[in-house]
Amino acid sequence: MTHMQSQETTLPKTGFPTYSRTRRKALLKSASIHLVLIVACVIAVYPFLRVVSISLRPGVSLLSTSLALIPEGATLDNYRTLIFDKDFTIWLWNSLIVSVATVLIGLLLAATAAYAFSRWKFPGRRQGLVFLLLTQMLPPGMLLLPIYIMVVRLNLFNTYTGMIIAYSVGSVPFSIWLLKGYYDTIPKELEEAALVDGADPLITFYRIVLPLAAPALAIAGLFSFMTAWNEYMMARVMLQKASMFTWPLGFQRLRDQFTTQWGIFSAASVLVAIPVMLLFLYSSKWLISGLTLGGLKE
């Protein structure tokens, strides 16, 4: 009470009272933050909208310079052609199989390996971690040839398995580092409590540690998915059979020697973005901070 009274008496008699000045400051700050965010959104979204717009154009106005987002005579013809007249669904299916499998295998390997690196001391632990980091420093192009040779010798050329292994090689080390860092922040006492409660180490891992590591697992999963989903170079080297093509390879087929069907190309771009968007939306609920809050006295 006395505190409030003293605040009232210190208000200046003339001019704006102090609280109004601070409120204006806060408004200005909020406005500038929003402005920056809006500009960033426009920069990010506009090209995508252009692609959507081009994909809706009828064949005659493909090279139109109009900036209208919904073109005159908008049509879904490009989508129809893409889905029914081209092998698009096959490419998408191949990509989906390879990407999902890369995520599952990658997470299984990385989640368990990272747990070992985080919790146990064993000979070669440090060297192992450094080695995993080193693999991330090599440019992907450098790995092309050795992986190609291995895949051919193992008879995995033109197979899903070969692609999945090749992509996992790239994503697992990163995921291990990411997950190890996250596991390190999960208090050991939680696992000890579970051990005393009657869990064995394996149950402790999947009932206590894994649920708490959900945000890191989501990020690792997303990363693995994106690695496999968007990859072109490795696929170009390892897949020769058209029926095995992933979508980046298939897209190349949309370009003829002299012309590119930009409308179909754009429609395809829009469609391949949809799974990624859905995945991001779905995993966003796992990307919450402070999952381990409250378990221990802070």
Binding site: P187, E192, V196, A199, L291, L293, G295
Partner: protein, 366 residues
């Protein structure tokens, strides 16, 4: 319910000895307190009983079973951790039910036990909340509840109250003691707080540097400490220690320190006779230094004049910080004392209750 027996247990971390040759028998239904300063090995001892630390040497029995190589889950123990260690992703109900679910208890039984424990602890209305939505005291109760529902042979508690505020700690102290009466289970309780040790346990084990210093009932340890460390650790304010020499004058035995000289009771001849003219540590608890103003019949040979450095009023009593010669000490006297900082004051040393310790070994002379 079971007894726990530690037989010559050692724990080494590399070259560091955390627990040295500990032998303790914890009786069935006993409330045993392991107390000592940080790093004394008390938590390590508890964790070895839990199975969370391997034993370097020795044996641990729970009931009649040798548990050295038995994993924690099969030891039939429950543990309450210092920082609660509640599962953040589960609500209170599931935190408490987790252990029972793992042991495949029927759903109805789990439900019954969780609700019973919640009722005992007064957390029935919190069962649907996540740990992060609870206060410190509530979290502590959930941690206790998680242990209670298991109905284990032995409860292990690792400083469970140290993170609570002072008022809540006092309240929970009483509740834990009540809980022990109610559950009639063996409890091993680790704390660095000598008040908790004194007030809660049937017996106390005092540890220092991995070595057990003394085992006994709280008052036995308070009144008859085996060595200067135990004497200083148990009791608040701590016992006063002064370097002194034992002197014989005629038929009397005296303690002479820098700044004062007081007579010891004649019974001391038997125990301390061999220390005459030798240096000893003279120990006296603050409540055994009396204010002369309130002791009109005091023996003049027990009176000491000292400078008053500081006074700390505690309400019902005052801690008076005194000094005489090199020695300074604390007296715990009635709130009406006239002792004021900067003056001299006369106090009476109740040497009937004083302690003598060997200067070299710090062992009690008795």
């Amino acid at each position: 319910m079971a007894r726990v027996y530690l037989e010559n247990v050692w724990k080494k971390f590399g070259n560091v000895v955390a627990v040295r040759d500990a032998t303790i028998e914890i009786k069935d239904k006993e409330f045993l307190i392991l107390v000592g300063p940080s790093g004394c090995g008390k938590s390590t001892t508890l964790r070895m009983v839990a199975g969370l630390e391997e034993i370097t040497e020795g044996n641990i029995y729970i009931g009649d079973t040798l548990v050295n190589d038995i994993p924690p889950k099969d030891r039939d123990i429950a543990m309450v951790f210092q920082n609660y260690a509640l599962y953040p992703h589960m609500d209170v109900y599931n935190n408490m039910a987790f252990g029972l679910k793992l042991r495949k208890f029927p759903k109805a039984e789990i439900d019954k036990r969780v609700h019973e424990a919640a009722k005992i602890l007064g957390i029935e209305n919190l069962l649907k909340r996540k740990p992060k939505e609870l206060s410190g005291g509530q979290r502590q109760r959930v941690a206790l509840g998680r242990a209670i529902v298991r109905e284990p042979k032995v409860f292990l508690m690792d400083e469970p109250l140290s993170n609570l505020d002072a008022k809540l700690r006092v309240q929970m102290r009483a509740e834990l003691a009540k809980l022990h009466d109610r559950l009639q289970t063996t409890i091993i309780y680790v704390t660095h707080d000598q008040t908790e040790a004194m007030t809660m346990g049937d017996r106390i084990v005092v540890q220092k540097d991995g070595v057990i210093q003394q085992v006994g009932a709280p008052m036995e340890i308070y009144n008859h400490p085996d060595n200067a460390f135990v004497a200083g650790f148990i009791g608040s304010p701590a016992m006063n220690f002064m370097d002194a020499v034992l002197r014989r004058e005629g038929d009397d035995l005296w303690v002479q320190a820098d700044g004062f000289k007081v007579k010891l009771p004649p019974t001391r001849f038997e125990t301390a006779g061999e220390y005459i003219d030798k240096e000893v540590i003279f120990g006296i608890r603050p409540e055994d230094i009396l204010d002369l103003d309130f002791e009109p019949d005091a023996d003049p040979e027990l009176i000491v004049t000292a400078n008053v450095d500081v006074t700390e009023p505690m309400g019902a009593e005052v801690y008076v910080y005194l000094s005489a010669g090199k020695e300074s000490y604390i007296a715990r006297v009635d709130a009406h004392t006239r002792a004021r900082p900067g003056t001299t004051h006369k106090v009476v040393f109740n040497t009937q209750k004083a302690h003598l310790f060997c200067k070299d070994t710090e062992a009690s002379i008795r």
